[in-house]
Symmetry: D2
Subunit: 143 residues, 4 copies
Amino acid sequence: MARSEPHSRADYSLFWPLQTRWGDNDAYGHMNNVVHYALFDTAVNAWLIDQGLLDIHSGKLIGLVVETRCSYFSELAFPDSVEAGIRIAKLGTSSVTYEIALFRQSETQAAAQGSFVHVYVDATSRKPVALPDNWRKILEKIT
Amino acid sequence: MARSEPHSRADYSLFWPLQTRWGDNDAYGHMNNVVHYALFDTAVNAWLIDQGLLDIHSGKLIGLVVETRCSYFSELAFPDSVEAGIRIAKLGTSSVTYEIALFRQSETQAAAQGSFVHVYVDATSRKPVALPDNWRKILEKIT
Amino acid sequence: MARSEPHSRADYSLFWPLQTRWGDNDAYGHMNNVVHYALFDTAVNAWLIDQGLLDIHSGKLIGLVVETRCSYFSELAFPDSVEAGIRIAKLGTSSVTYEIALFRQSETQAAAQGSFVHVYVDATSRKPVALPDNWRKILEKIT
Amino acid sequence: MARSEPHSRADYSLFWPLQTRWGDNDAYGHMNNVVHYALFDTAVNAWLIDQGLLDIHSGKLIGLVVETRCSYFSELAFPDSVEAGIRIAKLGTSSVTYEIALFRQSETQAAAQGSFVHVYVDATSRKPVALPDNWRKILEKIT
Protein backbone atom coordinates (compact mmCIF):
# COMPACT_ATOMS: atom_id res chain seq x y z
CA MET A 1 0.00 0.00 0.00
CA ALA A 2 1.68 3.19 -1.16
CA ARG A 3 1.29 6.03 1.31
CA SER A 4 -0.82 8.72 -0.33
CA GLU A 5 -0.02 12.42 -0.68
CA PRO A 6 -2.19 14.92 1.22
CA HIS A 7 -5.16 16.18 -0.78
CA SER A 8 -5.99 19.85 -1.06
CA ARG A 9 -9.34 21.56 -0.63
CA ALA A 10 -9.51 21.94 -4.42
CA ASP A 11 -9.89 18.15 -4.67
CA TYR A 12 -13.30 18.33 -2.99
CA SER A 13 -16.55 20.14 -3.69
CA LEU A 14 -18.54 19.01 -0.65
CA PHE A 15 -17.45 20.03 2.85
CA TRP A 16 -18.89 19.23 6.25
CA PRO A 17 -17.95 21.17 9.43
CA LEU A 18 -16.80 19.09 12.40
CA GLN A 19 -16.13 19.93 16.02
CA THR A 20 -13.35 18.46 18.10
CA ARG A 21 -13.86 17.46 21.73
CA TRP A 22 -11.72 17.73 24.83
CA GLY A 23 -11.45 13.95 25.09
CA ASP A 24 -10.17 13.63 21.49
CA ASN A 25 -6.68 14.57 22.67
CA ASP A 26 -4.73 11.60 23.95
CA ALA A 27 -1.70 11.31 26.22
CA TYR A 28 0.50 12.76 23.46
CA GLY A 29 -1.57 15.96 23.39
CA HIS A 30 -3.04 15.51 19.93
CA MET A 31 -6.12 13.93 18.44
CA ASN A 32 -5.95 10.17 18.86
CA ASN A 33 -5.82 8.32 15.52
CA VAL A 34 -9.10 6.59 16.35
CA VAL A 35 -11.05 9.84 16.46
CA HIS A 36 -10.46 10.52 12.77
CA TYR A 37 -12.74 7.58 12.00
CA ALA A 38 -15.42 8.93 14.33
CA LEU A 39 -15.26 12.13 12.28
CA PHE A 40 -15.47 10.22 8.97
CA ASP A 41 -18.60 8.41 10.21
CA THR A 42 -20.12 11.63 11.43
CA ALA A 43 -19.48 13.64 8.28
CA VAL A 44 -20.77 11.05 5.81
CA ASN A 45 -23.81 9.97 7.82
CA ALA A 46 -24.77 13.56 8.71
CA TRP A 47 -24.63 14.45 5.03
CA LEU A 48 -26.72 11.40 4.04
CA ILE A 49 -29.32 12.34 6.67
CA ASP A 50 -29.24 15.99 5.59
CA GLN A 51 -29.92 14.92 2.00
CA GLY A 52 -32.96 12.94 3.13
CA LEU A 53 -31.39 9.59 2.25
CA LEU A 54 -30.43 7.94 5.52
CA ASP A 55 -32.99 7.53 8.30
CA ILE A 56 -31.26 5.84 11.27
CA HIS A 57 -34.43 4.85 13.07
CA SER A 58 -36.97 3.94 10.44
CA GLY A 59 -35.22 3.81 7.08
CA LYS A 60 -35.30 0.64 4.96
CA LEU A 61 -31.65 0.99 4.07
CA ILE A 62 -28.67 1.18 6.38
CA GLY A 63 -24.98 1.42 5.53
CA LEU A 64 -22.63 -1.14 7.06
CA VAL A 65 -18.92 -0.40 7.03
CA VAL A 66 -16.76 -3.16 5.52
CA GLU A 67 -13.44 -1.42 5.00
CA THR A 68 -11.76 1.72 6.35
CA ARG A 69 -8.34 3.32 6.12
CA CYS A 70 -6.63 6.57 7.04
CA SER A 71 -3.29 8.31 6.46
CA TYR A 72 -2.18 10.90 9.00
CA PHE A 73 -0.04 13.81 7.76
CA SER A 74 -0.12 16.42 10.51
CA GLU A 75 -1.62 16.73 13.96
CA LEU A 76 -5.13 17.81 14.72
CA ALA A 77 -6.07 18.64 18.30
CA PHE A 78 -8.93 19.99 20.37
CA PRO A 79 -10.02 22.82 20.15
CA ASP A 80 -9.36 22.79 16.38
CA SER A 81 -12.26 23.31 14.03
CA VAL A 82 -12.15 20.79 11.23
CA GLU A 83 -13.80 20.54 7.84
CA ALA A 84 -14.27 17.23 6.09
CA GLY A 85 -14.07 17.12 2.33
CA ILE A 86 -16.23 14.25 1.06
CA ARG A 87 -16.25 12.60 -2.36
CA ILE A 88 -17.13 9.23 -3.80
CA ALA A 89 -14.34 7.23 -5.42
CA LYS A 90 -16.52 4.32 -6.49
CA LEU A 91 -20.28 4.06 -6.77
CA GLY A 92 -21.19 0.37 -7.00
CA THR A 93 -24.51 -1.44 -7.17
CA SER A 94 -24.93 -1.65 -3.43
CA SER A 95 -21.62 -0.34 -2.14
CA VAL A 96 -20.06 3.11 -2.04
CA THR A 97 -16.41 4.00 -1.44
CA TYR A 98 -16.22 7.41 0.22
CA GLU A 99 -13.01 9.41 0.42
CA ILE A 100 -12.77 11.88 3.26
CA ALA A 101 -10.08 14.47 3.93
CA LEU A 102 -9.87 16.39 7.20
CA PHE A 103 -8.74 20.01 6.96
CA ARG A 104 -7.82 22.13 9.94
CA GLN A 105 -9.70 25.40 9.66
CA SER A 106 -7.95 27.79 7.26
CA GLU A 107 -5.49 25.18 6.01
CA THR A 108 -5.67 24.09 2.39
CA GLN A 109 -3.81 20.80 2.73
CA ALA A 110 -5.38 17.80 4.46
CA ALA A 111 -4.14 16.91 7.96
CA ALA A 112 -5.43 13.38 7.36
CA GLN A 113 -7.38 11.54 4.74
CA GLY A 114 -8.90 8.16 4.28
CA SER A 115 -11.71 6.16 2.87
CA PHE A 116 -14.48 3.95 3.99
CA VAL A 117 -16.67 1.53 2.13
CA HIS A 118 -20.36 1.36 2.96
CA VAL A 119 -22.39 -1.62 1.84
CA TYR A 120 -26.06 -0.71 1.86
CA VAL A 121 -28.27 -3.42 3.28
CA ASP A 122 -31.90 -3.95 4.15
CA ALA A 123 -32.33 -2.73 7.73
CA THR A 124 -34.14 -5.92 8.75
CA SER A 125 -32.55 -8.74 6.75
CA ARG A 126 -29.10 -7.08 6.65
CA LYS A 127 -28.73 -8.36 3.06
CA PRO A 128 -27.19 -6.02 0.43
CA VAL A 129 -29.68 -4.18 -1.77
CA ALA A 130 -29.19 -2.20 -4.98
CA LEU A 131 -29.08 1.53 -4.26
CA PRO A 132 -32.46 3.10 -5.14
CA ASP A 133 -32.65 5.84 -7.77
CA ASN A 134 -33.11 8.70 -5.30
CA TRP A 135 -29.90 7.65 -3.54
CA ARG A 136 -27.99 7.20 -6.80
CA LYS A 137 -29.05 10.58 -8.12
CA ILE A 138 -27.67 12.40 -5.10
CA LEU A 139 -24.56 10.27 -4.68
CA GLU A 140 -23.60 10.87 -8.30
CA LYS A 141 -23.25 14.58 -7.55
CA ILE A 142 -20.10 13.96 -5.53
CA THR A 143 -18.71 11.06 -7.58
CA MET B 1 -23.79 17.92 47.88
CA ALA B 2 -21.21 16.79 50.40
CA ARG B 3 -18.19 15.20 48.81
CA SER B 4 -18.08 11.54 49.79
CA GLU B 5 -15.16 9.64 51.31
CA PRO B 6 -13.54 6.87 49.25
CA HIS B 7 -15.05 3.44 49.82
CA SER B 8 -12.92 0.39 50.53
CA ARG B 9 -13.15 -3.04 48.95
CA ALA B 10 -14.76 -4.29 52.16
CA ASP B 11 -17.82 -2.16 51.34
CA TYR B 12 -18.59 -4.38 48.33
CA SER B 13 -19.21 -8.07 47.81
CA LEU B 14 -19.59 -8.09 44.00
CA PHE B 15 -16.63 -7.14 41.80
CA TRP B 16 -16.32 -6.90 38.03
CA PRO B 17 -12.94 -6.74 36.22
CA LEU B 18 -12.45 -3.88 33.78
CA GLN B 19 -9.79 -3.10 31.22
CA THR B 20 -8.49 0.35 30.43
CA ARG B 21 -7.75 1.47 26.88
CA TRP B 22 -5.01 3.55 25.32
CA GLY B 23 -7.48 6.27 24.37
CA ASP B 24 -8.80 6.58 27.95
CA ASN B 25 -5.83 8.76 28.82
CA ASP B 26 -6.40 12.40 27.99
CA ALA B 27 -4.03 15.31 27.43
CA TYR B 28 -3.19 15.33 31.16
CA GLY B 29 -1.94 11.74 30.95
CA HIS B 30 -4.63 10.16 33.11
CA MET B 31 -8.01 8.61 32.55
CA ASN B 32 -10.46 11.26 31.39
CA ASN B 33 -13.33 11.79 33.86
CA VAL B 34 -15.82 10.73 31.19
CA VAL B 35 -14.38 7.22 30.92
CA HIS B 36 -15.34 6.37 34.50
CA TYR B 37 -18.97 6.44 33.39
CA ALA B 38 -18.22 4.15 30.44
CA LEU B 39 -16.80 1.72 33.00
CA PHE B 40 -19.86 2.05 35.26
CA ASP B 41 -22.14 1.24 32.31
CA THR B 42 -19.97 -1.68 31.29
CA ALA B 43 -19.70 -3.24 34.74
CA VAL B 44 -23.39 -3.05 35.61
CA ASN B 45 -24.73 -4.11 32.21
CA ALA B 46 -22.16 -6.92 31.83
CA TRP B 47 -23.21 -8.26 35.24
CA LEU B 48 -26.93 -8.01 34.38
CA ILE B 49 -26.29 -9.91 31.13
CA ASP B 50 -24.12 -12.45 32.92
CA GLN B 51 -26.95 -13.08 35.39
CA GLY B 52 -29.36 -13.76 32.53
CA LEU B 53 -31.43 -10.65 33.25
CA LEU B 54 -30.60 -8.12 30.55
CA ASP B 55 -30.83 -9.07 26.87
CA ILE B 56 -29.80 -6.04 24.79
CA HIS B 57 -31.24 -7.28 21.52
CA SER B 58 -34.41 -9.15 22.33
CA GLY B 59 -35.22 -8.57 25.99
CA LYS B 60 -38.57 -7.05 27.01
CA LEU B 61 -36.92 -4.85 29.60
CA ILE B 62 -34.19 -2.27 29.09
CA GLY B 63 -32.60 0.06 31.63
CA LEU B 64 -32.55 3.78 30.86
CA VAL B 65 -30.19 5.98 32.82
CA VAL B 66 -31.84 8.99 34.49
CA GLU B 67 -29.18 10.15 36.93
CA THR B 68 -25.42 9.65 37.30
CA ARG B 69 -22.67 11.02 39.49
CA CYS B 70 -19.03 10.38 40.26
CA SER B 71 -16.39 11.54 42.74
CA TYR B 72 -12.75 11.26 41.72
CA PHE B 73 -10.15 10.65 44.45
CA SER B 74 -7.00 9.53 42.69
CA GLU B 75 -5.87 9.03 39.13
CA LEU B 76 -6.48 5.96 37.06
CA ALA B 77 -4.65 5.56 33.76
CA PHE B 78 -4.10 3.10 30.95
CA PRO B 79 -2.68 0.42 31.27
CA ASP B 80 -4.18 0.05 34.79
CA SER B 81 -6.36 -2.93 35.52
CA VAL B 82 -9.46 -1.87 37.37
CA GLU B 83 -12.06 -3.69 39.40
CA ALA B 84 -15.54 -2.28 39.90
CA GLY B 85 -17.31 -2.92 43.17
CA ILE B 86 -21.08 -2.92 42.55
CA ARG B 87 -23.90 -2.66 45.08
CA ILE B 88 -27.47 -1.44 45.10
CA ALA B 89 -28.30 1.51 47.33
CA LYS B 90 -32.01 1.56 46.52
CA LEU B 91 -34.20 -1.06 44.91
CA GLY B 92 -37.44 0.62 43.84
CA THR B 93 -40.48 -0.66 41.98
CA SER B 94 -39.06 0.03 38.54
CA SER B 95 -35.84 1.87 39.33
CA VAL B 96 -32.53 0.80 40.79
CA THR B 97 -29.79 3.00 42.22
CA TYR B 98 -26.43 1.32 41.70
CA GLU B 99 -23.30 2.40 43.50
CA ILE B 100 -20.03 1.61 41.79
CA ALA B 101 -16.49 2.05 43.09
CA LEU B 102 -13.44 1.72 40.86
CA PHE B 103 -10.37 0.13 42.44
CA ARG B 104 -6.94 0.10 40.86
CA GLN B 105 -5.65 -3.46 40.92
CA SER B 106 -4.19 -4.27 44.36
CA GLU B 107 -5.45 -1.08 45.98
CA THR B 108 -8.06 -1.33 48.73
CA GLN B 109 -9.35 2.23 48.55
CA ALA B 110 -11.49 3.44 45.64
CA ALA B 111 -9.85 5.70 43.05
CA ALA B 112 -13.33 6.92 42.13
CA GLN B 113 -16.90 6.09 43.01
CA GLY B 114 -20.32 7.09 41.91
CA SER B 115 -23.84 6.00 41.29
CA PHE B 116 -26.28 5.68 38.52
CA VAL B 117 -30.02 5.25 38.48
CA HIS B 118 -31.58 2.87 35.98
CA VAL B 119 -35.29 3.06 35.29
CA TYR B 120 -36.44 -0.20 33.74
CA VAL B 121 -38.81 0.29 30.85
CA ASP B 122 -40.58 -1.80 28.27
CA ALA B 123 -38.22 -2.08 25.29
CA THR B 124 -40.95 -1.07 22.84
CA SER B 125 -43.15 1.44 24.63
CA ARG B 126 -40.28 2.84 26.74
CA LYS B 127 -42.73 3.10 29.66
CA PRO B 128 -41.53 2.10 33.18
CA VAL B 129 -42.47 -1.38 34.29
CA ALA B 130 -42.30 -3.05 37.70
CA LEU B 131 -39.22 -5.25 38.02
CA PRO B 132 -40.20 -8.91 37.51
CA ASP B 133 -39.54 -11.43 40.28
CA ASN B 134 -36.52 -13.05 38.62
CA TRP B 135 -34.85 -9.63 38.42
CA ARG B 136 -35.78 -8.69 41.99
CA LYS B 137 -34.48 -11.97 43.39
CA ILE B 138 -31.04 -11.45 41.90
CA LEU B 139 -30.83 -7.71 42.54
CA GLU B 140 -31.65 -8.25 46.22
CA LYS B 141 -28.43 -10.21 46.59
CA ILE B 142 -26.34 -7.06 46.24
CA THR B 143 -28.73 -4.64 47.96
CA MET C 1 -30.13 13.60 46.31
CA ALA C 2 -33.35 15.15 45.07
CA ARG C 3 -33.78 14.88 41.33
CA SER C 4 -33.64 18.37 39.85
CA GLU C 5 -36.16 19.98 37.52
CA PRO C 6 -35.05 20.79 33.96
CA HIS C 7 -33.62 24.28 33.56
CA SER C 8 -34.75 26.62 30.81
CA ARG C 9 -32.61 28.70 28.47
CA ALA C 10 -33.56 31.77 30.51
CA ASP C 11 -31.50 30.35 33.39
CA TYR C 12 -28.29 30.82 31.40
CA SER C 13 -26.58 33.74 29.70
CA LEU C 14 -23.63 31.90 28.15
CA PHE C 15 -24.19 29.24 25.47
CA TRP C 16 -21.76 27.04 23.59
CA PRO C 17 -22.72 25.14 20.39
CA LEU C 18 -22.01 21.41 20.36
CA GLN C 19 -22.10 18.81 17.64
CA THR C 20 -23.24 15.24 18.09
CA ARG C 21 -21.45 12.32 16.45
CA TRP C 22 -22.63 9.13 14.81
CA GLY C 23 -21.03 7.03 17.53
CA ASP C 24 -22.81 8.93 20.33
CA ASN C 25 -25.92 6.84 19.72
CA ASP C 26 -25.85 3.56 21.59
CA ALA C 27 -27.71 0.31 21.13
CA TYR C 28 -30.93 1.97 22.30
CA GLY C 29 -30.71 4.53 19.47
CA HIS C 30 -30.11 7.59 21.62
CA MET C 31 -27.11 9.42 22.98
CA ASN C 32 -25.36 7.26 25.53
CA ASN C 33 -25.40 8.80 29.03
CA VAL C 34 -21.60 8.93 29.01
CA VAL C 35 -21.47 11.32 26.06
CA HIS C 36 -23.18 14.10 28.01
CA TYR C 37 -20.04 14.37 30.12
CA ALA C 38 -17.85 14.55 27.01
CA LEU C 39 -20.00 17.50 25.96
CA PHE C 40 -19.72 19.16 29.40
CA ASP C 41 -15.91 18.88 29.22
CA THR C 42 -15.86 20.21 25.69
CA ALA C 43 -18.13 23.20 26.33
CA VAL C 44 -16.39 24.41 29.48
CA ASN C 45 -12.82 23.87 28.29
CA ALA C 46 -13.51 25.35 24.84
CA TRP C 47 -14.94 28.45 26.51
CA LEU C 48 -11.96 28.75 28.89
CA ILE C 49 -9.58 28.47 25.92
CA ASP C 50 -11.63 30.96 23.91
CA GLN C 51 -11.41 33.43 26.80
CA GLY C 52 -7.63 33.12 26.80
CA LEU C 53 -7.57 31.45 30.22
CA LEU C 54 -6.81 27.78 29.64
CA ASP C 55 -3.78 26.73 27.59
CA ILE C 56 -3.71 22.93 27.41
CA HIS C 57 -0.12 22.63 26.26
CA SER C 58 1.83 25.37 27.96
CA GLY C 59 -0.40 26.98 30.57
CA LYS C 60 0.68 27.07 34.24
CA LEU C 61 -2.80 26.17 35.41
CA ILE C 62 -4.86 23.12 34.53
CA GLY C 63 -8.30 22.10 35.79
CA LEU C 64 -8.70 18.64 37.29
CA VAL C 65 -12.20 17.25 37.65
CA VAL C 66 -13.06 16.05 41.16
CA GLU C 67 -16.85 15.68 41.01
CA THR C 68 -19.42 15.36 38.23
CA ARG C 69 -23.14 14.65 38.01
CA CYS C 70 -25.91 14.68 35.45
CA SER C 71 -29.70 14.33 35.32
CA TYR C 72 -31.28 13.13 32.09
CA PHE C 73 -34.77 14.38 31.20
CA SER C 74 -35.28 13.60 27.53
CA GLU C 75 -33.34 11.91 24.79
CA LEU C 76 -30.68 13.53 22.67
CA ALA C 77 -29.43 11.70 19.58
CA PHE C 78 -27.15 12.16 16.60
CA PRO C 79 -27.66 14.19 14.36
CA ASP C 80 -29.10 16.66 16.91
CA SER C 81 -27.47 20.02 17.28
CA VAL C 82 -27.03 20.87 20.93
CA GLU C 83 -26.33 24.04 22.84
CA ALA C 84 -24.76 24.01 26.28
CA GLY C 85 -25.79 26.67 28.78
CA ILE C 86 -22.90 27.29 31.18
CA ARG C 87 -22.92 29.06 34.54
CA ILE C 88 -20.90 28.95 37.73
CA ALA C 89 -22.70 27.89 40.89
CA LYS C 90 -19.73 28.36 43.20
CA LEU C 91 -16.48 30.24 42.65
CA GLY C 92 -14.02 29.11 45.32
CA THR C 93 -10.39 29.98 45.97
CA SER C 94 -9.03 27.29 43.67
CA SER C 95 -12.15 25.38 42.69
CA VAL C 96 -15.09 26.18 40.45
CA THR C 97 -18.45 24.42 40.30
CA TYR C 98 -19.84 24.69 36.78
CA GLU C 99 -23.47 23.96 35.94
CA ILE C 100 -24.16 22.90 32.39
CA ALA C 101 -27.52 22.33 30.71
CA LEU C 102 -27.82 20.70 27.28
CA PHE C 103 -30.56 22.04 25.02
CA ARG C 104 -31.64 20.41 21.80
CA GLN C 105 -31.66 23.06 19.11
CA SER C 106 -34.86 25.11 19.25
CA GLU C 107 -36.00 23.65 22.56
CA THR C 108 -36.20 25.90 25.60
CA GLN C 109 -36.13 23.21 28.26
CA ALA C 110 -32.94 21.27 29.03
CA ALA C 111 -32.73 17.66 27.80
CA ALA C 112 -30.10 17.06 30.48
CA GLN C 113 -28.20 19.07 33.02
CA GLY C 114 -25.42 18.54 35.45
CA SER C 115 -22.42 19.99 37.12
CA PHE C 116 -18.76 19.43 37.41
CA VAL C 117 -16.18 20.72 39.84
CA HIS C 118 -12.78 21.77 38.55
CA VAL C 119 -9.91 22.18 40.97
CA TYR C 120 -7.24 24.34 39.39
CA VAL C 121 -3.75 23.07 39.99
CA ASP C 122 -0.22 23.90 38.96
CA ALA C 123 0.43 22.02 35.71
CA THR C 124 3.73 20.63 37.03
CA SER C 125 3.26 20.03 40.75
CA ARG C 126 -0.48 19.23 40.39
CA LYS C 127 -1.04 21.12 43.69
CA PRO C 128 -4.10 23.44 43.98
CA VAL C 129 -3.40 27.12 43.38
CA ALA C 130 -5.54 30.20 44.02
CA LEU C 131 -7.23 31.39 40.85
CA PRO C 132 -5.33 34.39 39.42
CA ASP C 133 -7.11 37.72 38.98
CA ASN C 134 -7.50 37.45 35.21
CA TRP C 135 -9.30 34.11 35.66
CA ARG C 136 -11.47 35.40 38.49
CA LYS C 137 -12.50 38.48 36.55
CA ILE C 138 -13.80 36.44 33.64
CA LEU C 139 -15.32 33.64 35.71
CA GLU C 140 -17.29 36.17 37.76
CA LYS C 141 -19.18 37.17 34.61
CA ILE C 142 -21.07 33.88 34.58
CA THR C 143 -21.33 33.37 38.34
CA MET D 1 -6.99 -2.17 -2.63
CA ALA D 2 -8.02 -5.79 -2.75
CA ARG D 3 -10.21 -6.80 0.14
CA SER D 4 -8.30 -9.31 2.27
CA GLU D 5 -9.48 -12.72 3.44
CA PRO D 6 -10.05 -13.26 7.18
CA HIS D 7 -6.99 -14.58 9.00
CA SER D 8 -7.16 -17.54 11.34
CA ARG D 9 -5.71 -17.89 14.83
CA ALA D 10 -2.98 -20.09 13.34
CA ASP D 11 -1.61 -17.01 11.55
CA TYR D 12 -0.63 -15.45 14.89
CA SER D 13 1.54 -16.49 17.82
CA LEU D 14 0.93 -13.51 20.12
CA PHE D 15 -2.55 -12.82 21.50
CA TRP D 16 -3.83 -10.07 23.74
CA PRO D 17 -7.21 -10.27 25.57
CA LEU D 18 -9.58 -7.33 25.08
CA GLN D 19 -12.79 -6.34 26.75
CA THR D 20 -15.74 -4.75 25.00
CA ARG D 21 -17.76 -1.93 26.56
CA TRP D 22 -21.43 -1.11 26.64
CA GLY D 23 -20.87 2.06 24.62
CA ASP D 24 -19.04 0.16 21.84
CA ASN D 25 -22.39 -0.87 20.38
CA ASP D 26 -23.84 1.73 18.07
CA ALA D 27 -27.36 2.39 16.83
CA TYR D 28 -27.19 -0.76 14.68
CA GLY D 29 -26.58 -2.91 17.79
CA HIS D 30 -23.04 -3.97 16.96
CA MET D 31 -19.57 -2.66 17.65
CA ASN D 32 -19.05 0.59 15.81
CA ASN D 33 -16.27 0.37 13.19
CA VAL D 34 -14.31 3.06 15.04
CA VAL D 35 -13.92 0.92 18.16
CA HIS D 36 -11.83 -1.67 16.34
CA TYR D 37 -9.06 0.91 16.09
CA ALA D 38 -9.32 1.67 19.82
CA LEU D 39 -8.75 -2.06 20.37
CA PHE D 40 -5.77 -2.12 17.97
CA ASP D 41 -4.17 0.78 19.87
CA THR D 42 -4.86 -0.87 23.20
CA ALA D 43 -3.51 -4.29 22.26
CA VAL D 44 -0.26 -3.10 20.69
CA ASN D 45 0.55 -0.43 23.28
CA ALA D 46 -0.36 -2.68 26.22
CA TRP D 47 1.97 -5.34 24.84
CA LEU D 48 4.79 -2.83 24.29
CA ILE D 49 4.37 -1.61 27.90
CA ASP D 50 4.19 -5.17 29.19
CA GLN D 51 7.47 -5.96 27.43
CA GLY D 52 9.14 -3.01 29.13
CA LEU D 53 9.57 -1.08 25.88
CA LEU D 54 7.01 1.72 25.89
CA ASP D 55 6.77 4.12 28.84
CA ILE D 56 3.96 6.59 28.13
CA HIS D 57 4.98 9.12 30.76
CA SER D 58 8.75 9.15 30.88
CA GLY D 59 10.06 7.10 27.96
CA LYS D 60 12.40 8.67 25.40
CA LEU D 61 10.58 7.00 22.53
CA ILE D 62 6.93 7.28 21.57
CA GLY D 63 5.08 5.72 18.66
CA LEU D 64 3.08 8.02 16.39
CA VAL D 65 0.50 6.48 14.10
CA VAL D 66 0.87 7.44 10.43
CA GLU D 67 -1.36 4.90 8.67
CA THR D 68 -4.19 2.59 9.73
CA ARG D 69 -6.66 0.31 7.98
CA CYS D 70 -9.23 -2.31 8.86
CA SER D 71 -11.42 -4.88 7.09
CA TYR D 72 -14.63 -5.98 8.80
CA PHE D 73 -15.86 -9.53 8.18
CA SER D 74 -18.43 -10.25 10.87
CA GLU D 75 -20.00 -8.37 13.74
CA LEU D 76 -18.51 -7.98 17.18
CA ALA D 77 -20.67 -6.60 19.97
CA PHE D 78 -20.63 -5.94 23.69
CA PRO D 79 -20.47 -8.12 25.82
CA ASP D 80 -18.20 -10.19 23.54
CA SER D 81 -14.76 -11.09 24.76
CA VAL D 82 -12.19 -10.49 22.07
CA GLU D 83 -8.64 -11.60 21.52
CA ALA D 84 -6.24 -9.65 19.34
CA GLY D 85 -3.65 -11.55 17.33
CA ILE D 86 -0.61 -9.30 16.82
CA ARG D 87 2.26 -9.70 14.37
CA ILE D 88 4.69 -7.43 12.59
CA ALA D 89 4.55 -7.31 8.80
CA LYS D 90 7.46 -4.93 8.37
CA LEU D 91 10.17 -3.91 10.81
CA GLY D 92 11.86 -0.78 9.45
CA THR D 93 14.59 1.45 10.83
CA SER D 94 12.22 3.65 12.79
CA SER D 95 8.81 2.40 11.71
CA VAL D 96 6.87 -0.77 12.40
CA THR D 97 3.86 -2.10 10.52
CA TYR D 98 1.69 -4.11 12.92
CA GLU D 99 -1.04 -6.45 11.74
CA ILE D 100 -3.85 -7.08 14.18
CA ALA D 101 -6.73 -9.54 13.89
CA LEU D 102 -9.69 -9.49 16.27
CA PHE D 103 -11.16 -12.88 17.19
CA ARG D 104 -14.42 -13.33 19.04
CA GLN D 105 -13.81 -15.68 21.93
CA SER D 106 -13.80 -19.31 20.77
CA GLU D 107 -13.88 -18.43 17.07
CA THR D 108 -10.89 -19.33 14.92
CA GLN D 109 -11.54 -16.91 12.07
CA ALA D 110 -11.01 -13.16 12.48
CA ALA D 111 -14.09 -10.95 12.79
CA ALA D 112 -11.95 -8.05 11.63
CA GLN D 113 -8.34 -7.40 10.84
CA GLY D 114 -6.17 -4.47 9.98
CA SER D 115 -2.83 -2.84 10.30
CA PHE D 116 -1.29 0.23 11.69
CA VAL D 117 2.08 1.83 11.14
CA HIS D 118 3.92 3.31 14.10
CA VAL D 119 6.79 5.69 13.50
CA TYR D 120 8.94 5.87 16.60
CA VAL D 121 10.04 9.38 17.47
CA ASP D 122 11.91 11.16 20.22
CA ALA D 123 9.32 12.10 22.85
CA THR D 124 10.56 15.69 22.99
CA SER D 125 11.66 16.60 19.46
CA ARG D 126 9.08 14.33 17.79
CA LYS D 127 11.72 13.44 15.17
CA PRO D 128 12.03 9.79 14.02
CA VAL D 129 14.77 7.76 15.70
CA ALA D 130 16.24 4.37 14.84
CA LEU D 131 14.74 1.65 17.01
CA PRO D 132 17.20 0.76 19.82
CA ASP D 133 18.51 -2.80 20.11
CA ASN D 134 16.34 -3.78 23.08
CA TRP D 135 13.24 -2.81 21.06
CA ARG D 136 14.44 -4.57 17.93
CA LYS D 137 15.23 -7.79 19.78
CA ILE D 138 11.72 -8.07 21.17
CA LEU D 139 9.92 -6.88 18.04
CA GLU D 140 11.75 -9.48 15.94
CA LYS D 141 10.04 -12.23 17.96
CA ILE D 142 6.69 -11.47 16.33
CA THR D 143 7.99 -10.47 12.88
